[in-house]
């Protein structure tokens, strides 16, 4: 079914094409198939059939999750009535409402949703992918392959200088590198070699996190765990000979193990189509996700340039508000819902504990109790065992509720009920 057939009344079917069947694309396929009439065809295109649970990548290097467990078939998560095509997208031609595939085929659309996410680009940092260091002593864990190779290096590591490093913002799941540092502290402690390991957290920001209040809480936690911090680090290169990480202001940090998060960029086809900004993110209205340049293109998930965290939880909140907006848009009506940038994320802190952050475009991370009856109350921004369990429960929720487009018992818009803006407790 390609939707080229007239529907009996002389006009052809409405064609929606979704690029990417990851977190956002899969949720959208499910919610929009239910919401749209049968005179709509929905096509979703992805380059492979391996849907990866990316939040699990964090646990792979520590041997806490097996790589295989994190992969499922994309096709199996796409509902009946949606045409899944396993193809690579080469370009979008917005003037012609056409998607060009890598094999030269073309797919027409009336409405397009770009959900192609972002990926780490290690080749963007001079020296990093040099054979002498890359996946020998320098790793990234933002791909399953990288996380798996890092696991082997971690288990062979007997001591020395470890750098946990972020190249440049934005990155998806901006707390993941911090969590990595906490888990590494835990891991080496359990292996009884913590005293032989020097862990430094290296960030381009002026503190541990982008939001000031969370930054000071998380910074305190780093200190508690004897993790050093280097801030304002604008990375220039890796020196593969000396094994140092070098910054523009002349710092050279030696390493025995470098765990870096390379610059994260939008999909190459977005850049090649001229639809992206400097980093390949599509400029959109931050409240409606409609592409600034084209009324019939929306962008959901990490692919958009919205100023909030790039996270699966954010993609979920976006999808919840998006469905009604899309139905209005196709009828030429004003869009009823506005996305407020709502993000929440569990921050794994090691030692069986985690914290929960909750914020939006305008509000600093909140403290209080998270109103989610399925998990029971969790303290926002507080360290607790229950938050740790919440983090682990997320995997189950991801596959069984989020991907199927079921509503979570969490409001899309941020509720202030039971929450105290951080910094204002007592």
């Amino acid at each position: 079914m390609t939707g080229q057939y007239p529907n009996g009344y002389g006009h052809s079917m409405n064609k929606l094409v979704i690029l990417g069947a990851g977190t956002a694309g899969t949720m959208l396929s499910n919610t929009l198939r239910r919401a749209l009439d049968s005179d709509w065809s929905i096509t979703v295109i992805d380059q492979d059939d391996n849907h990866q649970y990316q939040p699990g990548f964090l646990f792979v290097p520590f041997g806490k999750m097996a790589p295989k467990r994190l992969i499922r078939s994309r096709r199996g998560l796409i509902p009946d009535g949606v045409d899944f095509r396993q193809r690579a997208v080469a370009k979008v031609h917005p003037q012609r409402n056409l998607v060009e595939l890598a094999d030269g085929d073309e797919v027409e659309y009336d409405w397009l949703i770009i959900a192609s996410g972002c990926t780490p680009r290690p080749e963007g940092m001079p020296g990093l992918t040099d054979d002498r260091v890359w996946q020998e002593s320098a790793f990234d864990f933002y791909t399953l392959d990288g996380a798996t190779k890092l696991r082997d290096a971690m288990s062979a590591f007997e001591g020395g200088r470890v750098l946990v490093h972020i190249s440049e913002m934005p990155i998806k799941c901006p707390v993941a590198p911090l969590e990595f540092a906490f888990l590494a502290d835990d891991y080496f402690r359990k292996r009884r070699i913590r005293h032989k390991v020097d862990i430094t957290y290296v960030t381009p920001l002026d503190g541990a996190f982008t939001k000031p209040v969370a930054s000071s809480k998380l910074g305190g936690l780093l200190e508690d765990r004897s993790i050093r911090v280097q801030t304002d680090f604008a990375v220039e290169s890796v020196d593969p000979e000396q094994r140092t990480l070098n910054s523009y202001d002349g710092r050279a940090l030696p390493f025995d193990l470098l765990v870096t998060v390379p610059v994260n960029m939008g999909a190459q086809f977005v850049i090649d189509s001229g639809l992206g900004d400097d980093l390949g993110y599509v400029p959109v209205d931050k409240h409606t996700l409609r592409a600034d340049a084209h009324d019939n293109i929306f962008v959901v998930g990490d692919a958009a340039n919205v100023p909030t965290s790039k996270a699966g939880a954010v993609a979920h909140f976006e999808v919840e508000m998006f469905t009604d907006n899309f139905l209005a848009a196709v009828q030429g009506k004003p869009l009823p819902n506005r996305f407020d940038g709502h993000a929440n994320c569990f921050v794994e802190a090691g030692r069986g504990q985690a914290l929960l952050l909750d914020f939006n475009y305008d509000t600093e991370p909140l403290t209080g109790v998270f109103p989610a009856p399925v998990f029971g109350p969790m303290k926002l921004l507080g360290l607790s065992r229950i938050n740790h369990l919440g983090k682990l429960a997320f995997e189950h929720i991801y596959w069984n509720m989020l991907m199927k487009g079921r509503r979570l018992p969490v409001p899309t818009e941020m509720s202030m009920r039971g929450k105290v803006p951080a910094g204002e407790e007592n």
């Binding site: 913002m169 381009p204 982008t210 939001k211 220039e236 523009y248 400097d278 100023p307 965290s309």
Partner: protein, 105 residues
Amino acid sequence: MPTNTIDQFTFEVNDEGFLTDRNQWSKELCEVLAELVGIEHLTPEHWATIEFMRDDSAKSGVTPTLRRMQTVGGFDVRELYQLFPGKPVKKMAYLSGLPKPVGCV
């Protein structure tokens, strides 16, 4: 919003001292601000970066990042560090009367 007065200049700033209204900026004010961040004399190289920042942000609505200074502006990042020691983007934004670039979330 606090108001700042230096010499004959009066302008609104945020709590970190960045101008909140780009229209209250002038070259003369810029020279005064430069001294405050330890730059005694603004050379043509300094002015080139400030002009780029102001032009680019007028079009895009946001303060350019270091990456954009490099890829779109064609500036050499090492040189920017020499011109504005320490935290070049923050200093350039400050002197250009623009908000600190969002490090993003």
